[in-house]
């Protein structure tokens, strides 16, 4: 690209001009919060309870808090880097500017797969929830879930296609309702209002750590489920009005919300449901918050948590479509993928081709793959992405030390969060290996193969100037 001066003596690169149609900067911190929390909150409604099955209720709590530390590190690191690298693509774009093209290509794929698989898992869940509602309202026989799975994906893709402001305002409303539902359930069952029904001491007696400390380690795999996806806030970087303010604010408020929601969820569910039932997410408690509401005996709570479960599922799928399409779009724009994907809709100002292209992929997985495999593929891609983050921030601080460029947020105690994050990722890899070793090895094999393809074939098409579009000084040591 001729309009990028990569030979500048003072600047490492200069942002190009000539954008005729770009993404629209219309979002505020609340939308960033809604994007991050919206993707994750479904993990509180279902999925986290597999951690109870792996090691008991206390193991799930330990996993909840250790995973909380992991994600707090993720949120802090992300907030610093993305408030500086304010462009669509999130961690892909960070990797491109800070590490290099091969890392960027891999991170872009991690992001797209993690979000698309999560979107498929959410659509499967939405179909299942609607079939439960049908049974509860007296429908006899098995409802065909496929039209509801397809409708969830196509409606949300349509919403994303039509504009980011409506998409994330919708997410803000349904995510807030789902979060308030958790608070109301906690207040109603814990004894703060009325008679409490939680019985932790009675339910835990003799089952404190049923599988010992190895159970705690195994629970870490599903401990991620409480927070998986909060890093998605970075994908809004090119569409927020004030990246340096909105991204750190929305992301850090998001992780605080999730720490509260996760702890309250554990407290409420583990105090009402026996651990054997709670820990079996297939034949036992599929949706623990909803099951807790049913045991409360209040119809209002049953309806509220039922709506909360459906809203959390839709909010997650909605945010995933938003994030996967931005990552795919950014890769197309830089020619890491065909440049055709880098198109922006002239009226709606969305990456419309990327949005539509990912729809059939999500549908194939939603209709043709088992839920646990889809979720595992999403978790593993996310875990690979988190492993990249500590390396990214260490390189970022080394190449552009404090004071050399303006940061919207500076995370404290560097490099401690990076080291803690790296250690926790290592522990979680081991935990995943215990339960899903074959999938882990297969997926790493997949990324090695695509990396070779990128190195030996695709790299020749890459727009190399796109690595130098930030008006930063030259990195130290170069």
């Amino acid at each position: 690209m001729a309009d990028i001066d990569i030979t500048s003596k003072t600047m490492d690169g200069m942002g190009p001009h000539g954008t005729k149609v770009g993404l629209l900067r219309v979002l505020g911190p609340a939308h960033v919060w809604a994007l991050g929390v919206g993707i994750v909150l479904v993990g509180e409604y279902m999925g986290w309870n597999f951690a109870v099955g792996k090691g008991g209720a206390y193991a799930a709590l330990i996993a909840c808090w250790f995973a909380g530390i992991l994600y707090t590190c993720v949120a802090m690191i992300d907030s610093e880097v993305t408030s500086t690298v304010a462009a669509a693509g999130g961690q892909y774009t960070q990797a491109k500017h800070i590490v290099g093209p091969l890392m960027a290509f891999n991170v872009g794929l991690y992001l797209t797969f993690a979000y698309t698989m999560l979107e498929a898992a959410n659509a499967i869940t939405a179909g299942y929830l609607i079939s439960v509602v049908a049974t509860m309202t007296g429908y006899e026989g098995a409802l065909d879930q496929r039209p509801f799975i397809i409708l969830s994906i196509l409606f949300l893709a349509w919403l994303n296609y039509r504009g980011v402001l409506a998409t994330l305002t919708f997410n803000l409303v349904i995510t807030a309702i789902a979060f308030v539902a958790i608070l109301v359930l906690f207040v109603s069952t814990s004894g703060i209002i009325g008679t409490g029904i939680v019985q932790h001491a009675a339910l835990f007696e003799g089952h404190e750590l049923p599988y010992g400390w190895i159970g705690v380690l195994a629970a870490m795999h599903f401990g991620l489920w409480y927070y998986l996806g909060i890093e998605g806030t970075t994908q809004a970087a090119e569409e927020v009005r004030s990246p340096a303010r909105a991204l750190p604010f929305g992301t850090l408020a998001g992780i605080m919300t999730l720490l509260i929601a996760a702890t309250l969820t554990w407290y409420t569910c583990s105090g009402v449901l026996p651990w054997e039932f709670l820990g079996d997410g297939v034949n036992g408690s599929v949706a623990p918050l909803f099951d807790t509401a049913r045991l409360s005996g209040s119809n209002a709570l049953v309806w509220l948590l039922g709506i909360g479960t459906l809203f959390a599922t839709l909010a997650s799928a909605n945010g995933c479509i938003n994030d996967a399409s931005r990552a795919w779009f950014a890769m197309g724009r830089d020619k890491y993928l065909p440049g055709w994907f880098g198109a922006v809709h002239p009226k709606y100002r969305t990456p419309y081709r990327s949005i539509v292209f990912l729809v059939p992929i999500a549908l194939i997985f939603a209709l043709g793959a088992p839920l646990d495999q889809v979720i595992t593929f999403s978790i593993l891609s996310g875990l690979l992405e988190y492993t990249f983050m500590p390396l990214n921030i260490i390189l970022f601080r080394k190449k552009w030390p404090m004071g050399s460029i303006k940061r919207g947020y500076e995370h404290p105690f560097h490099p401690l969060p990076a080291i803690v994050l790296l250690c926790l990722c290592g522990i979680t890899f081991f935990a995943v290996f215990l339960g899903y070793g074959t999938q882990l090895v297969a997926m790493i094999g997949f990324y090695i193969v695509v990396s070779l393809w990128f190195h030996f074939w695709r790299y020749r098409f890459v727009n190399r100037g796109a690595q130098f579009t930030m008006p930063w000084p030259k990195p130290q040591g170069y």
Binding site: P16, H17, G18, L151, W158, G342, A343, V356, M470
Partner: protein
């Protein structure tokens, strides 16, 4: 025929509508605008402008 069977048909119908809307609009957009315009988005535009204003 129960209510839920009608809801099923409605879900199929709405899915088709949303899908068709996107495909038709995609086709119209691609035929109405040149590829240069559609793919003109560049990363770092805001940062470059801020930098230039700062220099000026």
């Amino acid at each position: 025929m129960q209510t839920w069977n009608y809801i099923e048909y409605a879900a199929w119908g709405l899915s088709a509508l949303f899908g068709l809307y996107m495909l038709v609009d995609w086709f119209r957009t691609d035929t109405s605008y040149s590829e240069d315009v559609l793919t003109s988005s560049r990363e770092g535009e805001l940062e470059a402008l801020t930098e230039e204003e700062h220099k000026a």
